[in-house]
């Protein structure tokens, strides 16, 4: 059943990011040239369809409940990818009063894509690695 890992659906959530990483993610989604659809990916609008969750931003106090809600709504098995420095380590916002990150306080992060913002090629590479991890998770589940 390794064929099913060729159709990952992506969902992205912005947890208080400055939009830099979101713009870079959008270049892999809507703008010509960098193509995640080549890997079979498709951006979906609902976390319930998703297999791979892309998180941008240091988790702010306001966005934390929504992040936890999204993590509950994802069907198992799923893979979490942290896009940019912010969800990995909170970056320059670390120790700020309104930051409740980094992301691995709440869920085991499978792939970190560092950079501020990361290049589109790095994001696509991160998604390709996430697909490998997703494949392993499906195998372990059976």
């Amino acid at each position: 059943m390794s064929i099913i890992t060729r159709s990952p659906f992506l969902f992205r959530i912005n947890t208080g990011s400055c939009n830099g990483c979101d713009v870079e993610l959008a270049t892999t989604a809507m703008i010509p040239r960098y193509d995640v659809e080549r890997l079979g990916c498709r951006y979906t609008g609902s976390p319930k369809h998703a297999d791979i969750l892309l998180v941008t931003g240091p988790i702010t106090a306001r966005s934390k409940p929504y992040l936890i809600e999204v993590l509950d709504e994802l069907p198992r098995p799923f893979v979490v990818v942290a896009i940019g420095t912010c969800p990995t380590s909170c970056g320059i916002f670390r120790d700020s009063y309104s930051i409740e990150g980094p992301l691995d306080k709440y869920i085991k992060v499978d792939v970190n894509v560092p950079g501020c913002p990361p290049r589109p090629q790095a994001i696509i590479d991160g998604i390709a690695k996430a697909i490998e991890i997703w494949k392993r998770k499906i195998r372990d589940e059976k």
Binding site: I31, R42, G45, S46, P75
Partner: protein, 319 residues
Amino acid sequence: MNAEIINFLIFPGGIFAILLGLILMSVERILVARFQRRVGPVFYQNIIDIIKLFNKETLIPKDAKDFIFKFAPLFGFSGMLVLVYFLPIPGVYEGIKGNYDLIILIYFMALPAISHILGGGASSSPYAAISVSRELKLMLVYEFVFIIIGLTLAIYVGNGSGEFSLKKIMDYQLQNGYFLFDWKLWPAFLAFLIFVLATLEVPPFEVAHHNSADIMEGYLIEYSGVPLAMFEITEALKIVVLSIIFQIFFFPSVMGDDIVLNLLWFIIKTLFLIIFIALVHASLASFRADQEFKFLIRVPVTLSLLSLILVILSIKGLI
């Protein structure tokens, strides 16, 4: 197995139509990607998507109306499955040869939208509620356009009396020239293309299930796993059904008596429709909900009514 079961489950309907529709959807994605200078997925991508969704966990929200939520996709799916069995494919398949199948076709074409409305309404999500209200408004307009186009053709073929048999509409065109080349029906043809885009909900008419903008997939927001796969299969069958209707209404040309050759010719004509859809998909942005409603109520309704008036005038002998 007798011939009708094979027709329903394997050759024009059932497995063949589902696979053809899914491949056509993937081809549309590839074409959009190529128009945007990307590579795009493989040509069987949507089949993999369906296999994956069947293996995925199905989540049902706590507040959803359980029974309707689970079985709503089946309304549209069964409607489209019956239509593929029921419609004649020019030169390939005879259909059920009813005398009033155009009327039944008009009824059945509304079923996928009704399944979206039922499913979205039962899923207890505010996004789905907004999407359902939009879909209802738009459905009223584009179904109206489809009914006028159907009536126009029926009046034209029956020479004033109304001929509701699809077989006779096809035979009339094979004898008297295709409606695609008849100037009186060009406005109806344009209206039909807009109807195809509006029922398939490709970008300019995407307000009911945007996936990246305001309503987050709309009525599909709470769906996952098998019911979501059923909605995808319904979309695939809808592309096949719309292509068959397009060919019956405007261009039922055949290549001799050979079924294989005719089937290939049918698929080539379908590909032209897909190229048109992909071109519109790749080049136009989406309407706002009110803009889409105004556009649909002005342009295609006017065009189809214009065709109806021209046809009535020509039957009266005035033009």
